[in-house]
């Protein structure tokens, strides 16, 4: 294990007290095999080159950084957006799935399974599977298949099979449970393409490495444009993959790192340490150690945990974790749409909501602020319309 912040977590997959590998014995060999395969691939120039080539020619990278002129003026801060909404499939999720799909092929497996909340990771997985000729099955909670019907159809168009999960709270956490259960019985020819920096080692580390392209590009772009290091680097956090990707570029800089969770699923501010889905991290749980359902307007942040590296960054104080409410998020989404002509995903709007609330308070006027616009809002338009027009939530 290296001592570098956001470095290699070593063979135990530890980030301070967090991380590790808490899975039933049948899955242990698969996790170990995956770690070895990833370590080899991530030092193999051919693999790395193919990953970057696909993300450039197919994924639309590098994504630009946009300065928000009108909003900057209104808020009194210098606001920049890293435009992951412009990546293929409409969010940062493509970075991770291209990496994992290539790894699936490299391990000689024909099939990927994935969980999804908002549907973005499911769509991205289905896309990568189509591109590389792999089979794909996506698990999605029943609550989410209802609020993200278009994404279900998108996955089906892309040739994936969507399995509706009716157990537990029927959202993201239960989709993960079901994917893990399926992985146990099909591990021989199936890779579990986990969608965020969570789960058992090596997933939190591997997914961060596949997402660090966001941070690496941003550092270069901020430098080349003459803006330099931002004062604040802000991203929304569900499991924490878009935040981890962006933070990894700035962790050694003086920038303040801020993750914004949904107020109804805030693992850092309302949670406590625990073990779920193969990792020790911060979780929302009751007095008996039962995991509590998260509630958020955005399906992608409806997760009662957080990636273990974020739990560690919070504990050491290198990053801080804040929350935004559903109401603040709706306001933020409309404001970015009307002022800048960009409709953000409800998830990404959490990061913006915090900046809008804190500009001139926690964020001194005149600060340079970089927000990860992790995805576009097309998938959320019907839901937002229903809320704004119909008063429903």
């Amino acid at each position: 294990m290296t001592d570098a912040v956001m470095g290699d977590p070593g063979s135990n997959g530890r980030f301070g007290d967090f991380g590790g590998r808490f899975v039933p014995e049948p899955l242990m060999p698969a996790c170990q095999e995956l770690e070895i395969a990833f370590r080899e691939a991530w030092t193999d120039p051919t693999f790395i080159d193919e990953y970057h080539t696909i993300l450039r020619d197919y994924g639309g990278r590098p994504t630009p950084i946009t300065r928000c002129g009108r909003l900057s003026e209104e808020l009194g801060v210098d606001l920049y957006l890293k435009r992951e909404d412009l990546a293929h499939t409409g969010s940062h999720k493509i970075n991770n799935v291209i990496g994992q799909a290539l790894l699936t092929r490299r391990m000689g497996k024909q099939r990927m399974i994935a969980e999804t909340g908002a549907g973005q990771h499911g769509v991205a997985s289905a896309t990568a599977a189509a591109l590389l000729g792999l089979e794909c099955v996506v698990f999605m909670g029943e609550v989410d298949t209802e609020r993200q019907q278009l994404n279900v159809f998108r996955m089906e168009l892309l040739g994936a099979e969507v399995r509706t999960v009716t157990s537990g709270s029927r959202t993201l956490k239960d989709a993960v449970n079901e994917a893990m259960r399926t992985w146990v019985s099909e591990v021989e020819d199936t890779h579990y393409c986990l969608g965020s920096v969570m789960g058992p080692h090596p997933f939190p580390w591997m997914v961060r490495e596949f997402q660090r392209i966001i941070g690496d590009e941003s550092v270069l772009q901020m430098f080349e444009s003459g803006v330099g290091t931002p004062d604040f680097v802000v991203a929304c956090v569900g499991g924490g993959s878009n935040a981890a990707g962006l933070f990894s570029g700035f962790v050694d800089s003086p920038a303040a790192l801020v993750g914004v969770e949904a107020a109804g699923g805030a693992a850092i501010s309302s949670g406590s340490p625990g073990v779920l889905h193969g990792m020790r991290s911060m979780l929302i749980q009751n007095d008996d150690g039962q995991i509590i359902e998260a509630h958020s307007i955005s399906a992608g942040l409806d997760y009662p945990g957080i990636g273990p590296e974020h739990a560690h960054l919070a504990e050491t104080g290198r990053a801080r974790y804040e929350t935004a409410t559903d109401e603040e998020v709706l306001v933020a989404l409309q404001r970015l749409a009307s002022r800048e002509g960009i409709i953000p995903a409800l998830e990404s709007a959490h990061a913006l909501a915090w900046v809008i609330r804190e500009a001139g308070h926690e964020i001194p006027l005149g600060s340079k602020v970089l927000i990860n616009l992790s995805g576009r809002g097309d998938k959320d338009v019907a839901q937002v319309r229903a809320i704004l027009r119909g008063g429903a939530t």
Partner: protein
């Protein structure tokens, strides 16, 4: 309180030529769950596996998931279940089966204290891997609780050896890759996993996950030291068969194994 100890009792019975039968019961499933434990003991169980429910049971299929949900909805907690167990004496060892968060949340020492007070002498912690075992296992060893480890069809030989050395009470041989649940066919994996374990020195080898019928139990008993039956019993309990139905089913398993 005075239930016999897992790692003393089971090897004696195996040495005496008995094939072990270990049924799984969900704590707090209904008002009668302790009567179900008594009933399966009377019907020939050599130890009882008592499930402490967890909200996210990733190695369990639909039947045990449903039992867990029902139990949690009735207000069952690890603390309440262990307190209820403590009020009865059982003539066979009691092993709890749960997920690590339930133990970690209470704290190793507190959990071990409540468990020993309840007469529990073994623990199966489904998602606690060998690599993460040390903290709990040290506490469990000090408290006289045997931590039973799993060996799966996917486990490589060198790792199997380490699991066999570290497992206490018995080794839980996973019959097939998959979650708990009833299966029409056992498949050929059982003999492979049992003989893999037998090539090392280990406590008794008991096979579970997917063993559903008396015929299957008898078949498993031919190669293994013991048989663990979960979902097939739980389904009967979910259907309301109660202690009598449980006794009848476990009795049929016992007769098939002994035949």
């Amino acid at each position: 309180m005075a239930a016999p100890h897992l790692s003393r009792e089971l090897p004696l019975k195996v040495a005496a030529g008995r094939t072990l039968l270990i049924p799984y019961v969900m704590a707090g499933l209904d008002d009668q769950w302790l009567d179900v434990v008594d009933a399966v003991v009377d019907a020939g169980a050599d130890a009882v596996e008592v499930g402490l429910p967890f909200s996210d049971p990733i190695i369990d299929g639909p039947t045990i998931q449903e039992a867990g949900v029902r139990s949690i909805e009735r207000g069952t907690t690890a603390v309440s279940a262990l307190a209820q167990l403590a009020r009865r004496d059982f003539p066979v060892p009691i092993v709890v089966m749960t997920y690590y968060n339930i133990i970690a949340h209470l704290g190793h020492e507190r959990f071990a204290g409540l468990a020993t007070n309840a007469g529990v002498s073994g623990a199966i912690v489904a998602d606690l891997s060998l690599e993460e075992l040390d903290g709990w296992a040290a506490c469990a060893d000090d408290s006289g609780i045997d931590t039973v480890l799993l060996v799966a069809p996917s486990t490589p030989p060198e790792r199997t050896q380490r699991l066999c050395e570290r497992s206490r009470g018995f080794v839980y041989a996973v019959a097939r890759m998959g979650v708990t649940g009833e299966r029409a066919e056992l498949g050929s994996g059982v003999i492979d996993v049992v003989s893999k374990i037998r090539s090392f020195t280990s406590p008794p080898v008991c096979v579970g996950i997917g063993v559903s019928t008396p015929d299957q139990a008898a078949e498993v008993g031919e190669s293994a030291d013991g048989v663990i039956v979960g979902s097939a019993l739980i389904r009967r309990l979910l259907d309301g068969e109660g202690p009598n139905g449980a006794a009848e089913f476990v009795g049929s398993l016992r007769r098939a194994i002994d035949a």
